[in-house]
């Protein structure tokens, strides 16, 4: 629903579509760190609990002709006491559910988030499972608490994409988001010609921030 085709159907067949991606997972498994690595290629060892990482965007070029833009929603800490609003799940096209491979309980939590997504989100949402903090296990193999094969088996039976990642070393981070981009219905989004609210019939751009001729999404769209 929220996929936004901004410049679809250009001559030459170039495709560009925008999708909403939500992050889920227990506190301190590295949700924000994964996004920070993906969006800014940065990592901070002593990052505090999420404050202010509200709304990031990043673009991936799948090939010369195809560009996917992620509009990434962080939980803003509202998952801590199970107080995420329905707005968070609304129209999410894809989700990254994160656990910490050194904490067995975090995978159980991830499984319950997957259930919650299946209950609350669009039925055709693309979900990726990310076992984060692979760097810790690379340094000290005995720290591993979740076996790759176990998580992989769960992901397969639940029809999830699966990667073990490290926000710290960047291992598999780009790969994770690229794999999601490849599964998204770009063609469909372009054919539907879905647009941001300013382009929706009767939709209004409250901020009037857009210059004439700009392709931006207006409210709800990115402001970058």
């Amino acid at each position: 629903m929220a996929a936004r085709m901004q410049q679809g159907g250009r001559p030459g067949g170039a495709r560009f579509a925008q999708f909403k991606l939500v992050l889920l997972g227990e506190s301190a498994v590295g949700k924000s760190s994964l996004v920070l690595r993906f969006v800014k290629d940065q990592f901070d060892d002593y990052r505090e609990s999420t404050i202010g990482a509200a709304f990031l965007t990043q673009t991936i070029a799948l090939d010369d002709q195809t560009t996917v833009k992620f509009e990434i929603w962080d939980t803003a800490g509202q998952e801590r006491y199970k107080s995420l609003a329905p707005m968070y799940y609304r129209n999410a096209n894809c989700a990254v559910v994160v656990y910490d491979i050194t904490q067995a309980s975090s995978l159980d939590k991830a499984k319950s988030w997957v259930k919650e997504l299946q209950r609350q989100a669009n039925e055709n949402i693309i979900i990726a499972l990310a076992g984060n903090k692979a760097d810790l296990v690379a340094e000290q193999p005995d720290k591993r608490a979740v076996q790759t094969a176990d998580a992989e088996a769960y992901a397969r039976e639940s029809n999830l994409l699966f990667f073990e990642t490290s926000a710290k070393t960047a291992e598999n981070v780009k790969e994770l988001f690229t794999a999601i981009a490849k599964k998204l219905p770009i063609e469909q989004a372009s054919q539907r010609g879905m647009r941001g609210p300013a382009g929706r019939p009767g939709g209004v751009d409250l901020g009037n921030r857009q210059e004439a001729g700009s392709a931006g999404g207006g409210p709800g769209g990115c402001n970058c």
Binding site: L36, I51, G52, A54, A85, P86, P197, V204, L206
Partner: protein, 488 residues
């Protein structure tokens, strides 16, 4: 689960829109906020609910189950987002201003409401017409005769060009009679005039005064007409209507996709992004006060999900201030009025409204022999609040009698035509705080009133902010210089 911090600057109780805006603003300004709600969802009285929830809420004694699930014939219950409070946003109003200043527009999409209508006369003679919003529309309006149209045009032209700071726009007429915003000439200005004097100046007929006062200035009674000094307020209200109308064209109103319940969620997210802590399913066990000063010192509460086993998570925290909706402090509020409301599901647009997919229709009190107007607010699948082919119309008014409340709403209900489902409960009390909160640092909001928009709600936000923080709330430029950690 993480520990609750030992102390917060502000504890906010209830996640209605008023509370969520304040929570968001305070967090952006750097306050440490703990925000709780006893319910399992955001929005309190201002939530939007699905159809199953609505059936259950209005028929508490009915046992629903297999074979008796009346919502099932209306598609997926979750495709319904039905507002409990019937309101629309003025597109040039203060809530829009706050939404833009805080960037909460990033989380919510808005669409225009397709039309704004007013009823003249009643019963079989009733006419429904678009509310004319500028001089040109006044000339085409079926609401007035030929000469009256010209007078109305003159009036609206004057209102539109009125510039408080510029006396040359006050019109020779007003300069001649010294009616202006200039407060240096007491007794002779708009702030001191009655609206009757202004209407008289333009020679407007009673029926014109009626639709101007009720469907443009949006007064719910006729008390404003003879009230001294009300003329300035009235002109400002008409200007808000006209300017809101001019912004997008079809009506002065906009409405969020998926319902009004998105608004508190959006501001709660803003608060969370700036460090606000959120807890739903949390009941307040005790509020403690300092024996000497009488001011609030802290709160203890229990977070427990419905159906969760055990005691839940009990905690205590210190706080210097509490902001809350009236339901959390029933001893500190009074009832100031009662709203009557019927939520109706239709499968057709409302007759004589150009098949509008959304609208406001006002039945001024004088047209149906009442003291308070009857409002109809209707939205539909165009705003993603119900499946295609359905319309949700809420008829509301202020209760004037002690019984037979359905009769009070009847003129509005008649306007709807065939109704698939009607949900009507007991009159809804409107609460207001007894005190300012200065004595105990517990600052309470008002209930959502009977007005058709959010302007009085944002007045309340400003009032609470002033009481709690001791200064005026300035939302312009609110987010500049606040330094988001990882924002693009």
């Amino acid at each position: 689960m993480d520990e609750i911090a030992p102390e917060y600057d502000v504890v906010v109780l209830g996640t209605g829109l008023t509370e969520c805006i304040l929570s968001g603003v305070l967090s952006v300004k750097g306050a440490k906020v703990l925000h709780m709600d006893r319910n399992d969802h955001y929005g309190g009285e201002a939530a939007s609910v699905n159809l199953e929830t609505l059936f259950r809420q209005y028929n508490k004694t009915t046992v629903y189950g297999p074979g008796n699930e009346p919502w099932k014939k209306y598609g997926r219950a979750n495709d319904w987002n039905i507002d409990l409070v019937p309101k629309l946003l003025m597109s040039n109003g203060e809530l829009t201003n706050i939404l833009v200043s805080t960037d909460v527009t990033r989380y919510i999409e808005f669409k225009q409401v397709a039309g704004s209508y007013v009823q003249q006369s009643n019963g079989a003679k009733a006419t429904v017409a678009k509310v004319p919003s500028d001089a040109g529309e006044a000339l085409r309006s079926p609401l007035m005769g030929l000469f009256e149209k010209r007078r109305a045009r003159n009036f609206l032209t004057w209102v539109a060009s009125f510039d408080e700071a510029n006396p040359s726009t006050h019109n020779g007429m007003f300069r001649a009679t010294h009616i202006s915003y200039d407060t240096r000439t007491p007794g002779m200005n708009l702030s001191q005039s009655t609206m009757k004097q202004v209407y008289d100046k333009f020679g407007l007929e009673a029926t014109t005064r009626d639709f101007i006062g009720h469907s443009m200035a949006l007064y719910t009674t006729d008390d404003y007409i003879d009230s001294r000094g009300q003329a300035k307020d009235c002109v400002e209200r008409i200007r808000l209507y006209v300017n809101s109308m001019a912004r997008y064209g079809k009506s002065p109103y906009i409405y969020p996709l998926y319902g009004l319940g998105e608004l508190p969620q959006g501001f709660a997210r803003l608060s969370a992004i700036y460090g606000g802590t959120y807890m739903l399913n949390t009941t307040i066990d005790e509020v403690t006060y300092d024996d000497a000063t009488g001011k609030v010192t802290g709160i203890s509460a229990t977070m427990k999900e419905r159906g969760e086993e055990g005691e839940g998570m009990k905690f205590r925290t210190k706080c210097a201030k509490i902001l809350a909706d009236p339901s959390y402090f029933p001893g500190k509020v009074q009832v100031v009025g009662q709203i009557l409301k019927a939520i109706c599901i239709l499968n057709h647009p409302i007759d004589r409204t150009d098949n509008a997919d959304s609208l406001q229709l006002i039945i001024p009190q004088s047209q149906v022999g009442r003291k308070h107007d009857i409002y109809i607010a209707m939205v539909s699948s165009a705003h993603n609040v119900c499946p295609k082919g359905y319309y949700i119309a809420i008829v509301s008014t202020i209760a004037e009698t002690g019984a037979n409340h359905h009769l009070e709403l009847q003129p509005g209900i008649e306007r709807l035509g065939r109704i698939e489902e009607k949900f009507m409960g007991a009159p809804i009390p409107i609460y207001a705080p007894l005190g300012s909160g200065a004595e105990d640092n517990v600052f309470l909001s008002k209930s959502y009133d009977a007005s058709s928009h959010f302007e009085t709600m944002t007045d309340d936000v400003r009032d609470i902010y002033r009481r709690a923080e001791g200064k005026e709330l300035v939302v312009e430029g609110l987010k500049e210089g606040q330094g988001l950690v990882a924002e693009e």
